[in-house]
Subunit: 197 residues, 4 copies
């Protein structure tokens, strides 16, 4: 199994998940600004889920970059991750429809939690194959961000039963945690534009 096909298939699935979520956005009832505003929670959810897929796509690429040999285990761990992410259009639509409700909000968090765990399993499996001294094993390190995200998801699910809006803030926080540092690192590079020339 060539790595490029695994990457291409995963990219394809992620690109489709990203794009078909828009099909779950219902048409506003009427042609007024109020009709559009009624969709605000759905649009914000769409933005959040879009961000998540963008982050997974980005991290997934870096993760696979370190793989030298694709085994059956890596392949299935990857499909396991894609399975949970593939449910995102479903959970996004449900939480968008009932953004003040506990169960849809908790389910959204549960799916993101399952995705995060699936991602961690994929990491473990690659490290097991590549060896403890491999590039990935060192790069992942203590993996504070990964385990911190899992903790935030768990907290979000618990909080969803008391205050769904707070749980949704937790989910947005996880996205920001992964999104912002990327830009920081980039800024360092941007200050040395001639570094690669």
């Amino acid at each position: 199994m060539g790595k490029s096909r695994l990457e291409a298939f995963s990219d394809g699935v992620l690109a489709i998940i990203l794009t078909i979520m828009v099909l779950e956005l219902p048409e506003p009832h009427g042609d007024t600004l109020e009709a559009l505003q009624a969709l605000t929670p759905k649009l914000l959810n769409y933005l959040l889920s879009f961000l998540y897929i963008g982050i997974y796509w980005n991290n997934h690429h870096h993760l696979l970059h370190t793989v030298r040999k694709v085994t059956g285990g890596i392949l299935w761990a990857n499909l396991h991750l894609l399975f949970w992410l593939s449910l995102l259009p479903f959970t996004t639509a449900w939480m968008g429809e009932h953004h003040n409700s506990s169960i849809p909000t908790a389910l959204y968090g549960a799916m993101m939690l399952a995705s995060a765990i699936a991602y961690t399993i994929l990491e473990w499996r690659i490290i097991r194959n590549e060896g403890k001294g491999s590039l990935l094993a060192r790069a992942v390190g203590t993996n504070i961000k990964g385990y911190g995200s899992i903790a935030l998801y768990v907290a979000g699910i618990a909080v969803a039963f008391a205050a769904p809006w707070l749980a949704q803030c937790f989910y947005a926080l996880v996205a920001l945690v992964w999104f912002i540092p990327d830009r920081r690192i980039e800024r360092v590079f941007a200050n040395e534009p001639d570094a690669e020339s």
Copy 2:
């Protein structure tokens, strides 16, 4: 016709089938756990169909790996396979809606049977092109797993008219038969992580 384009096109179609099935999952009626639980058969069906596409994608890759020259016959045998698999979102949705009914369950099995036969035809056609002594001909061997799956589908379709749930167990069994050995082989490799270094 380059092999890489055939692979890329097949991967694209499989990735889309895998992902759009989620669009067939209806939104739960209401925001309660009961509303979500009412979707359990649909979600289980989704999981089963996801597994099937994952297995076909995996096996399809190994199959094409052995092809040296893509002929018109291979191309159409491949499209024939994709045709039956493309109906999976349709049959999955129908069986999900009527999981206790005979006809939807039998139809699901019939589509999987047609896919399995189409896969076997693709195998034959490749072997005819590559020669009896080719890598694929030897790898396929007596093809117990392939013919066994076909037998299980036929049995499942027959059983569907008496006990749909049992037929669905048969279909799940086929998926497990293809899924589990992969992991066994992988474990052997995993025990020798340095083998490829």
Copy 3:
């Protein structure tokens, strides 16, 4: 503009058209064989449209194979072709819903006619770029099959106003004309399996 990206983009669009058509198949009303049989015209239409996309994908590949340089004109001629083909899920669904009606049947033919003309324009444009003595110019030759298909579509559209079913037979005939010869050529190759070894 690299040729590989044009091919990849076209393949992506064709793979998506092929696959999302299944989303236009409505779920049968009920769980009986009669409910499924009521979908027969829709399923036959799906098969026909699937065949058309398969044929276009196949021919499109051979066409682009001869291109040495992608110009803006080729790019837009290609997008023009993809535009008409992208309407296929729409026309397929409408003809499927009203398979005994003249207008939906004529529209289906009109879209296929527009696609065939767009394909011919793409051929002309490539030949203009590659030169009259190019491989493609000689391969296309008098292009009996291409112009014959266009004539059959025109005839089908006219016939649709008298007998929709006959028009649909015309459309199926075009698909067969393109499908069968491919297999004949293949059979010649299949008889010499060692030719490429």
Copy 4:
């Protein structure tokens, strides 16, 4: 992050946006020509949005062509662009449903404006990385077409509140501005078909 994966992912997302818009076209009510004619505004919108995606795909390719190194900033600027474009099926469907209404028409323009700004940000970011003297910096030049489009979108949004049809003409004008020159340049090349041989 390899450039080819960024290109492939963007192409995938654009191909899917292009194709799933057809799913937003409702089936005509009935089998008559009148039923089809009632969809005219929707079909024209579909054509316009198809053109936009075709133009973005084309320009996006030329833009990325000049990139030598993909940084995190470029990646996120690219996802930012894809986010706004991904809303196109939603805004197209709404404007198609209410083509005489101000708010849907203004929203369509606002999304196109956001996409144009996102594209400009992506350009800036790439130029910042590649250096002021880079190929792209010189090619973009004073960027009259880019800023002119933004001005036309702003004008269109303002006009939408008085005359939606005029705003839609503005949007179509932007598409033509980007579409026609491409063909002019091409014609120059077409007059020298032997240039590349």
